[in-house]
């Protein structure tokens, strides 16, 4: 059983997606429990796998008993074992959060398909994370993308159709580029297995085919992660999607796309390629700093809470890409820590936004004056996760930025390190804007009586509060996380 965990991690949820559909025909109330149980099981399996990997080293699973490079293999090493645990934890938090939010936002007859697609999205993302075959990666990417397009459009708002269509067009261009890149790699080496590619590619580093493949893959995945100039789909998609979907795609999907990009850049191509042969890291570093500043400035300019958080995501993706640009041990540790940290804090912030929409029916900042009186717990969670977003010690956001700055110093990039700090100040700008409106916005109102606190349902509050507290605890007990992050960063740089 334990030997087959990697494949069960993909096979069971696909079956359970079908089961949700069948059970939904019988009685709609069965959908949610099946979804919850599946994701909790997956999370348990991911933890078991992560512990196994940290104890025994990389797990390789040959699908159907076919040995690579002919067969497809699933590979779980310290890097994607860590990512796997993170994304399944957040998926579990989201699915707990989703139930009441879905009841409010999705039509009853659509809830069955909502949970089916939700399950397929998580499956696709898990598949992307653990596969060791580059074409398999593309297939899982498309499974998750198609599920995302439909999930974004599942809100009752007509605007979500337009947002979804725009994302579909850009996402398909991205997928097409990725497919072309894979084709070029296959032409150059004749293999699709990632480990095999890493062995065979150095011989043909000089070929134009390999450069083309790299550029297509880089641009394709940059669209998927919404790296700054290619982010145009993101604000609308995040804003118009139902709250639960926003939480899932802003945390889990965004992080898996980043993972895939890191995997391609560091495992398939190596640091030797991106630093020496095809020097692209300096350029990525420059664009990343532009992304940090531009995303934060655009976030400050927004009038809608969800849209503001969406632009903040663009800025935070810049931080993770910054680690890719610096590409040394400390910076990568910071980047991986930020993948975890940003997933936790942005998940929490979007959950707050979802709760506010649930209770207030709007996320326009101008309508939320004094919301802290009505929803004290939510606004406190926002303040805590927001502090982490700004990078106030001892939160996780501080730790990841600390490592990033150390990495930049080590690489001698003083100016870029300064940009990180400016980005933090700008983050303080947009986070404080909501805090001010929420806590002090009704300063001038005549009504001095304390409004009765009307929080959202408990099942939405619990995951939100848990994530907010995690922002703090992960920062305080950062050494525990570093146990998993350090070997992962070493692995990316080609070490043990």
């Amino acid at each position: 059983m334990i030997d087959h965990l990697p494949v069960l991690l993909i096979a069971v949820p696909i079956l359970s997606a079908l089961l949700i559909l069948l059970a939904g025909w019988y009685d709609r109330r069965f959908c949610y429990p099946i979804s919850l149980i599946t994701i909790l099981l997956q999370f348990g399996a991911a933890i078991a796998i992560l512990l196994e990997v940290m104890r025994e080293g990389t797990i390789r699973y040959h699908l159907g008993g076919w040995a690579p490079p002919l067969g497809i293999e699933l590979v779980i090493d310290s890097f994607n074992g860590f990512i796997l645990a993170v994304i399944l934890f957040l998926s579990a938090a989201t699915v707990v959060y989703a139930r009441r939010s879905v009841e409010k936002e999705i039509d009853p007859e659509k809830r069955i398909s909502f949970y089916v697609l939700f399950q397929l999205l998580v499956t696709g993302l898990v598949g992307m994370t653990i596969t060791g075959d580059i074409f398999n990666l593309y297939v899982f990417l498309e499974i998750s993308s198609i599920a995302t397009y439909t999930l974004i459009a599942s809100a009752r708002r007509p605007r979500s159709y337009v947002a979804s269509f725009n994302y579909l067009v850009l996402g398909s261009i991205a997928a097409g580029f990725i497919l072309l890149g894979i084709g070029n790699l296959y032409v150059a080496t004749g293999t699709l297995n990632m480990a095999d590619l890493a062995l065979l590619l150095p011989a043909s580093y000089g070929l134009a085919t390999v450069h083309t493949a790299f550029l297509f893959l880089l641009i394709g995945f940059s669209i998927k992660v919404a790296f700054f100039p290619l982010h145009l789909w993101l604000p609308d998609a995040y804003t118009e999607a139902p709250s639960a979907v926003t939480v899932l795609i802003s945390t889990v999907m965004a992080k898996v796309s980043v993972y895939a990009l890191f995997r391609i850049v560091f495992t398939v191509f190596t640091t030797a390629y991106v630093i020496d042969t095809f020097a692209v890291t300096g350029f990525i570093l420059f664009i990343a700093t532009v992304a940090i500043i531009a995303g934060a400035v655009l976030a400050i300019a927004q009038n809608d809470l969800k849209r503001m958080l969406a632009y903040s995501s663009i800025s935070q993706i810049g931080y993770i890409m910054f680690a890719l640009g610096v590409a040394n041990q400390l910076a990568l540790e910071g980047g991986l820590l930020h993948i975890l940290g940003h997933a936790v804090m942005k998940g929490c912030l979007f959950m707050v936004a979802g709760l506010i929409i649930y209770r207030m029916g709007t996320s326009q900042l101008s309508d939320l004056k004094g919301v802290a009186k009505t929803m004290p717990i939510s606004c406190a969670a926002f303040a805590l996760a927001g502090a982490s977003m700004i990078g106030i010690p001892p939160t996780i956001g501080f730790m990841s930025k600390y490592y990033l700055v150390l990495g930049a110093f080590e690489a001698g990039q003083w100016i870029y390190a300064a940009v990180l700090l400016v980005g933090s100040l700008l983050a303080a700008g947009y986070i404080w804007r909501f805090i001010e409106i929420a806590y002090f916005g009704d300063h001038h109102s005549e009504d001095r009586r304390p409004a009765p606190a009307r929080e959202g349902p408990v099942s939405m509050l619990v995951p939100m509060v848990a994530l907010a507290l995690l922002c703090l605890f992960l920062g305080v007990f950062v050494e525990v996380v570093m146990e998993a992050v350090r070997p992962a960063a070493m692995l990316l740089l080609g070490g043990a």
């Binding site: 297939v139 159709y161 067009v169 032409v187």
Partner: protein
């Protein structure tokens, strides 16, 4: 001169065709106003990539890669890209289906399928 031309274009005309088709598709995706035409552009773009895969699998004089009895040798075409593209075609069909159904919904809601008009209507609401 002619040899360089041959080397660059004619001996690799299959790749040039894929590139031309891809650019036609991308042009339609970006420049066309009609959402359905955009989706057609997306299909052309994807098809170009499929053709690229199929054409690099080709071996001149190769046959179908079927199992032969012991001792019989045959030159055959690389079947792997064909299999990959079968998967990619399925993906392409699903994306097209989702895209078309979104267009239907957009048309039902707003009564337009032209991008400029759509942006005006969306902002107007």
């Amino acid at each position: 001169m002619i040899e360089a031309f041959y080397e660059l274009f004619l001996s690799r005309y299959n790749y040039w065709m894929a590139i031309i088709l891809m650019l036609i598709g991308l042009y339609a995706l970006i420049a066309k106003q009609n959402l359905v035409k955009k989706l057609i552009g997306l299909n052309i773009f994807q098809t170009a990539i499929f053709l690229f895969y199929i054409s690099f699998a080709e071996v001149q004089g190769g046959t179908a890669p079927i199992y032969l009895p012991e001792g019989v040798d045959a030159l055959y075409v690389n079947p792997l890209p064909h299999v990959l593209i079968l998967t990619a075609i399925v993906v392409g069909v699903s994306v097209t289906a989702v895209g078309l159904s979104l267009i239907v919904r957009i048309y039902e809601e707003y009564g337009v399928i032209d991008e400029d008009d759509l942006m005006q209507v969306v902002r107007g609401r």
